[in-house]
Symmetry: C2
Subunit: 221 residues, 2 copies
DNA sequence: ATATATTTTTAGATTTGTCTAAATATTTAT
DNA sequence: ATAAATATTTAGACAAATCTAAAAATATAT
């Protein structure tokens, strides 16, 4: 497995995430994701094509090929293991881990990552509930459903938060919701689609439609 | 405190180490240390001068000013804390930590380093026995003496290893010597300046002049 | 189907960090 | 003191990653 520059890695990872939503990734979408210019994206796509990491025909969009996905999973593994480390061992807050992991992920020593994985006890999910690829790039993919779609009076556990902005995390903290929180939806109000949610041993809280659609849960107490 | 590029940081750190030995650092010495060309050093020295980190007059050599030393100590702090982490927590071997720390040291989040320091229990020395600067850049500077200069029959403890090549570490391992090893010199042979050294609860080993001059000890059992 | 708008690519420039080869300054030896 | 050797700097080039502005391709609307 070759080594890639920090910049190349950031592009590869972004394509990986974007192509989960859309079959093919566009120049503009990638430019927006990476806070860069379309012209810079085109330049980089030419390079990644030469390095045989993507399928790309001018004007046709692009997507990672098998090798590209393998590389992406390696970067995501590093990112999420560091996030776990920062949160679990260094007691960083939820919202602070991403930015630092964005740098740490580019330290490419394989031994470092595999030993870190071992040290952390082979965690399966990062602090945002995203699955951590193992040494072979495999990850658990638990079925999850948005809190908004959870039926009434069914126990479920928060396992993923889609948006990880400071604003979102502020709000979650205020509502006492985190990964692992057990809850059930008691009522849904048709007027504004807000939910009344009961968390164990707490009084019920109101969750807006927007927030509920960003919280994902799995069934079970 | 501004942020510096990886390349700038590597130059700054190298100057810091070189100016401990010589009053002023030369272009060639720095080029050799960094495995680069003298012309590249001159280019960078101009930049570091503009950024007010060094004293530099063309042809006169250079040295870090107060601000430059402060920056250097920050980089060294990061480097050595990561070395300690790799050795202590991830169980890396002595000889493997430096290369990885050389990359990790450039991740510049202050919070990351201060929390790492806390997590590690505020260690004072890295795995090679080098002192770790604290958050203010201060470090313990225990007086140490080379094993070669240690008087006969005086108990001492290994606290520093000057050379950290794989070859050196191989040899040290074979002789069962590490940071913290307690020993005393029993004899010195004038023919080749070799030493007979007694480590607690072990049979005596022979240490060459070259090796002894790279091992540093402090007095006391 | 044609005009308009949007997206993407190209052309050319810029910054950072590096290099080689040549010029210049300094040091050392005679 | 002069010549030779060594060290340092300058000049000019190059690769990586970015940008702006203009050109070209594609998509959309009438
Ligand atoms: Mn990144
Ligand atoms: Mn995450
Ligand atoms: Mn480094
Ligand atoms: Mn060290």
């Amino acid at each position: 497995m070759l080594n890639y520059s920090t910049s190349e890695e950031n592009y590869i990872k972004a394509i990986f995430h974007l192509q989960e939503a859309n079959e093919t990734v566009s120049t503009n979408a990638l430019a927006q994701e990476l806070l860069t210019r379309p012209a810079s994206v085109t330049d980089m796509m030419k390079k990644l094509k030469t390095k045989k990491l993507i399928h790309y025909q001018p004007y046709q969009g692009f997507r990672l090929n098998t090798e590209g996905k393998k590389v992406a999973l390696g970067i995501i593994r590093r990112h999420r293991l560091w996030e776990f480390f920062l949160s679990e061992k260094l007691k960083f807050e939820w919202g602070e881990v991403h930015e630092v992991a964005e740098e740490l992920e580019h330290v490419s020593s394989k031994k470092l990552i595999d030993k870190l994985d071992e040290f952390l006890g082979y965690p399966k999910f990062d602090p945002h509930g995203d699955p951590i690829p193992d040494v072979h790039g495999r990850m658990e993919d638990h079925e999850r459903i948005s809190l908004f779609d959870l039926p009434l009076n069914v126990y479920a556990e928060v396992c993923h938060v889609a948006n990880q902005s400071t604003e979102m995390l502020d709000l979650l903290k205020h509502k006492s919701i985190a990964i692992g929180t057990k809850l059930e939806v008691k009522r849904k109000f048709d007027f504004d689609n807000s939910l009344e949610v009961k968390i164990r041993q707490q009084s019920p809280v109101t969750i807006s439609e927007q927030l509920a659609k960003n919280i994902f849960v799995k069934y079970g107490s």
